[in-house]
Amino acid sequence: MAKTVTIVVDDIEYEVPAGMNLVDVCKQYAGVDIPVFCYHPKLGHDGNCRMCLVELATPRKNPHTGEMELAWFPTLQTACTQKTSEGMTVRTKSQKVIDGRREILEFLLSSHPLDCPICDKGGECPLQELTLRHGPGTSRMYWEEKMHLGKHVPLGELIYLDQERCILCARCIRFQDNIADDPVLAFDQRGRHQQIITASSPGFNSIFSGDTTDICPVGALTSADFRFNARPWEMVQVATICSHCPVGCNMSFDTRTDREAGGRTTIKRIMPRQNERVNEIWICDKGRFAHHHMEHPERLTKPLIRRNGRLVEAGWEEALREVTAQLQHAGENVAAIAGGRLPNEDLFALQKLIRAQGSHHIDAYPPVRGGEFTASVGVGVGTNLADMGSGDAIVVIAGDLHEEAPLWWLRVKAAAERGAMLITIGGRETRLDKFATHSLRYDYTEEVATLNALLGCMKLTGLPRSVDGLKEAVKGARAFKPDKAIKDAAEALAGANNVIALVGHEGLDGQGSHNLAQAVANLLMATGHFGRPNNGLIVVWPTANGQGASDIGVRPDYRPGYQRIPVPGMGYTDILAALADNTLRALYVVGADPLFDDPAAEQALRSTLGTIIVQDMFLTATAEVADVVLPSQSAAEREGTYTSGERRVQRFYPAIEPCGQSQPDWLIIQTIGKRLGHGNPSPSAAAVLLEIAKTVPQYAGITYQTLAEVEPQIPDVGGEDLYYGGTAFRNRHGLGVQWPAAAESGGALSAHPVEAAESIEPEEDMLLVVPITLLYDAEPVFHKTSLLHGRVPGPDILMHPEDARYLDIADGDVVRLSIDGKDITVVVRFDEQAPEGAALLPRRMQVQGAPMAATFATLVRWDVEALER
């Protein structure tokens, strides 16, 4: 129990934690709102705006009488810079305080343009609200004497600055410096000329830039997406979950019926919704700005059927009849590939249909494994990365969190700054290394070997009895030779109280990701870090609902709820092979686009004689080769649930009207199922969730009611009082439910020794090409968001200068690579940070015509003939 002290706030005594920020204490314990501008609980105090003035006294010994007495500071003090101590006494409502606040506001407004009627913040603006509550009604300043500065200063193409409105609180700068670690904002000049600048290229270069528009306490920072677009009070907030990465940020679609949209409801902006265990009050710019695909004119509005070689529009009845006939004909020779961004309901319906046909040939795309390990030793219920700190350890393996799961990056980095040990293990340097206590480098293909070596050299005092096969697993690991760096990391890890491991899949195929996750699970089990909060495994899935897809059995080896299938079906790679040799009669692709970014899919999908049915929002590359295309709804048009990488099931709500004749994926699938004689469709998405909860033991008890439960969030942002000024929304629609892993619910646990992967020995003139994931890529759902277009990298391949020299290639050379038989043209970029012996190829880059990259690490014959120099 933390030490407590007694303080007096407005004549009432409170027992509060010692050393706590006075503003927070007054709010949480005394229910007293002290107005602030520059202070923010997530940013700490800066003491620059003086809005939080209070009368303050502390006890001290009278030098004459020797007695303790209350000594009042002669002047008002800033509450945000005070920490609670015994006997601290504050007055927050006295005339002196009231006068002080009024004067500060008059001062802040002395040069303010007062253009609230056209200001985006108007209606949710702390300056406006606090002026109404505490400020003077009129100003003594003359308009002519106000400072006139830029009103539309672009800080890059995403965020605009109104220099006149800025009150110089430095929240945006502090956020960028201390939270986002992109120190690209600063004050320039001083006095009345002081203003925010950015000198980065591109301007305001940060994937968290949008968050500054939320915490800016005035309308100085606005987003290009929302400015002059709607007034805050006109919009309806619809709770939703981000569908771009496995973090599962809680967000809100702010919608309004729009005249320009012909009276339709449209999404005007996306705002974070507070969930302190998931995203706190932040979201990344992809989550915030990549929503325009949902209302994009290229959305499919009607089913399409191939007639005489061309896809032509058709009615639903015709399309469904066609699909049913094809699937009937295919019988059990059917396979399905589902996008890992699909909600649970759709995934459940799809696997049910395929299995009802007698097939287990189903997989998620991209096929990453590891769900069985999160199901057994995933992070314990109640885990919160914000609880990780000194004495704890976080291990990040085979991935770049900054690009793949930005909010995890942010929170892991914060944990490291709080003193948590951070061990990064990867084939290359990433932005997290700067904060790491230990960085282990391996050559690609040595992922498992490195993890085994780490486990092998851990000093273990007794193994947990609850796990079968641990002894063998540890014995197997001991065969691997650790180097000094690994030994140091092992020693450090041995002393950790709590350990969370985040395992990615960079350079790995399905089997590789499975093996790596197993190796990491072995480590966690052997060291006892599982089955309790803040301990265990997280898989960094390539898509938002990779965890859900695995849980629900969208994989060939498990039925829903990880019930092993004795004779597994075919996984993604085998499905492609079977399509190529025409042993499959039909492929049903839902929400996935392998042709877009997997060269290996080319031949299989283009040449197969089997029927291809594609269900998507757009006419994707894969849809273009389909026989039937069914239009599905975006997440904004329907309801459903996702399961985050931390196994938190979260619900999203319908926000806008459906596009054309599109339907929710689950309903289309179930309608086809009915025609095939597999039972009636569910009446609603809620009913599908009920069925999931009945079928998947881990999801037992999960209903819309439990998903809607909320608990008070600290700090309390977005309240009526605008105490913290940020406009992140209070979470009224539910924090979701994290389901217990087997380790917590008494399930069986087992470890298995893992073999190291075979190393790849490049022949001469060959180079290992490793696809890496970037946050902004040319994926259709993202690409249609013109706002972020400029930040999608060009067709660059990153190469260490040494490798390039060896291959006789210069920086900037245009070269042709042949990956899995598909030619792509890329520009060579030297990168000292790139590992030697492997070139890094961003997935889904903006390559004209073919935005492709290998899916897995591949050896590529290096066509040294440079096309252009």
Partner: protein, 167 residues
């Protein structure tokens, strides 16, 4: 020529002085200004690299400190104090006079690159108001006559000291 080519030892000496290398930003900026007359864009980039700072923060610092410049200034920097005590002794009129004589506004540089005028805050010589600093040197108890003479002297000095500048 980069600073690291010309001032490697100095840079290392400054870096060694501070527990946090960020703190060496001021001496490095002064060094760049000394070397190039102002802090060039290249120097900003180079210093950012050496100290692992973002260029934005360096620009902000240059903006904050009035004695740092990120664009070329004249050979003679005329900083005339227009703060209260000097203003009470006629500094504003004097500043206007200076501007008229040189045909530029405060903050501007004469086309021949000789003079830059700046109105500045108190330079701590109020007892001799009005005051102007020329490249850091004080000229006190100024009036129009003294000012005219000073300008003539400076022009003459410039011709002598840097003939190459004019051929």
């Amino acid at each position: 020529m980069a600073l690291l080519d010309t001032h490697k030892e100095d840079i290392e000496r400054h870096l060694a002085k501070y527990p946090d290398k960020h703190s060496a930003v001021m001496p490095l900026l002064a060094m760049a200004q000394e070397e190039y007359g102002y802090v060039t864009q290249d120097a900003i980039g180079e210093i950012a690299g050496i100290l692992d700072l973002d260029v934005t923060h360096i620009k902000g610092l240059i903006g904050f400190y009035t004695m740092l410049y990120d664009r070329p200034k004249g050979k003679y920097l005329l900083q005339i104090c227009t703060d209260l005590p000097c203003a009470l002794r006629g500094a504003e009129a004097l500043s206007e006079h200076l501007c008229r004589k040189l045909g530029i506004q405060p903050g501007e540089t004469t086309p021949d690159g000789l003079f830059t005028i700046e109105n500045v805050k108190c330079v701590a010589a109020c007892d001799c108001a009005p005051v102007m600093q020329v490249n850091g040197h004080y000229h006190e108890n100024l009036d129009e006559e003294k000012l005219n003479k000073l300008l003539e002297d400076l022009r003459r000095e410039a011709e002598v000291s840097e003939p190459a500048h004019y051929d």
